[in-house]
Point group: C2
Chain length 307, copies 2
């Protein structure tokens, strides 16, 4: 790899990435193709049976029209079934959850704007709100990361580890903490609260929300006829989870990206120069500072901004 020219290395990286995309697609196709076809076949059979049994009373196409209308409405988050307690789609807790899903870029899609004004507002709100959120996270990061580094520095001193080892241990510890507190624990809570949801599905939901993917196929509490107070409590819990979880995720990603091992790997793919003084820490010349677009090493011991 070291003998290749930089553009060839980048090309290999990109091609490798696309191959990984294709591999994932092939595996999912194998895993999911049959169940989806089976479900579709079952649905079609149900529809055919319905038509056969009761079709004599129904004008041609009336059922399809009704189904189509119901399906289209659901695509925009409006349910046609269910009693009145879930009829208020855009009540304040739901609207709050929606705006949070916009600003965390999760975007579940269980609710979506119908009107042109709503769509335009979403675009503007996100265009202004996303940079503001990023700035907030950057500000909080300056406050919180040194706190975490101080723990790492204490551990390094206590166990007499090299800085690189201490950094790795700290990053691993933070990763486990985030995974435990923000994926496993919420998944266990969700699993115990919802009867018909397996632990895997709960982990799948928590992970999808935390990584801001937000497929929206499983949303806890929806369509179950829960008491409104419980439902709203759940929505507020999800809201807090999205906001805190994203912050925790970004802090963990930042910590990992500052690891000397990770930075060395990224640099390896980049330049053809051998590792320079940057990786050994210390004082950098202005050129090297300008070349480096990765954040500097985290604080070892020493002063940290008051927070």
């Amino acid at each position: 790899m070291g003998a290749l020219r930089p553009w060839a290395r980048y090309g290999l990286l990109v091609v490798g990435h696309l191959l990984a995309l294709g591999l994932g697609a092939a595996v999912l196709q194998a895993l999911e193709g049959p169940p989806a076809l089976r479900l579709q076949a079952n649905l079609r059979a149900e529809l055919a049976t319905f038509q056969a049994e009761y079709g004599v009373c129904l004008p041609p196409g009336a059922l399809e029209e009704l189904l189509g209308a119901a399906l289209a409405a659901q695509a925009h988050g409006v349910s046609s079934l269910g009693n009145g307690s879930e009829a208020r789609n855009w009540d304040l807790p739901s609207a709050l959850l929606f705006t949070a899903s916009l600003l965390t870029t999760t975007g579940y899609g269980h609710m979506a704007p119908l009107s042109a004004g709503g769509k335009a507002f979403c675009v503007l709100y996100t265009a202004l709100g996303l940079p503001a959120s990023l700035a907030l996270v950057a500000a909080l990061r300056r406050c919180l990361l040194p706190l975490l580094s101080r723990q790492g520095a204490w551990v390094a001193m206590h166990w007499q580890l090299t800085p690189a080892r201490a950094a790795l241990l700290q990053a691993a510890g933070l990763g486990l903490l985030v995974a435990g507190t923000f994926v496993l624990l919420p998944a266990l809570v969700l699993w115990s609260l919802q009867g018909d949801c397996s632990l895997l599905e709960a982990i799948y939901f928590c992970f999808g929300s935390l990584s801001t993917i937000g497929l929206g196929d499983l949303l806890p509490g929806r369509g179950r006829g829960l008491h409104p107070v419980l439902y709203h409590l759940g929505q507020f819990a999800l809201l807090g989870y999205l906001l805190l979880g994203l912050l925790a995720m970004l802090l963990a990603v930042e910590t990992f990206s500052e690891l000397p091992q990770v930075r060395a790997m990224v640099k390896f793919f980049g330049s053809s120069d051998p590792l320079n003084a940057e990786d050994k820490g210390g004082i950098l010349g202005q050129d090297e500072l300008a070349l480096s677009t990765l954040p500097p090493p985290e604080a070892a011991a020493g002063q940290a901004p008051a927070c």
Copy 2:
């Protein structure tokens, strides 16, 4: 603001953020509440009419059962209507689009895994693939950002601007370029290709995809009975759009976050020290290097890694 203690400043920031969330929720509630209620009322009326006209033939609950099954299937991306050409839900182009929506964290949700194995695979695939994607973007960033900076440096020399002005102009230029190439242009193309989609809806879709929110309420081409070749071409176009658009977005965000003005603002909320030597560039002491968690200034003139 400067007289407040740091934790009070952070508290104000967080409270301000939550207020902005609430304000967005209130506006959306006002804009979207009535249309959603109207749509639901229409649906309920249609259902009631259907029941009234043909209910005599149908056993109680049979229609609700059928509707429920169709709606539940759609929540997992399986359509009950439509002809066979869209029956193959997990064909390779669709599966590729799905894995790309996972790794870009867009997560439209128009398709979602049904089987436990599929869900588990998605969690593992994303857990491994997301960090790999981030590393790829970091590597490409080291290559591409200096190229952009060189343009900025040339403009700065040619028009004799101060470095701060040049950086601002470059960031603004890049922002406009990304907005034009990755939001406006695709929206115009989408608008001209799809008859029943307004320009606002096209911009709303492009913006939602680029920002990785991915609500999934509007997906071009779905359910329109397009010729399969055209539909797959469209899927590949969307795939490339997601991947390239995310890269462009991240580069633009990186460029903006390195602006002296932005960094000063973030620092202002952070420490109570006046602006230190870091913002003037130049050689930093190890303590100051350790304190700073923001990326160093982008390359001015000078050497850049070969790419």
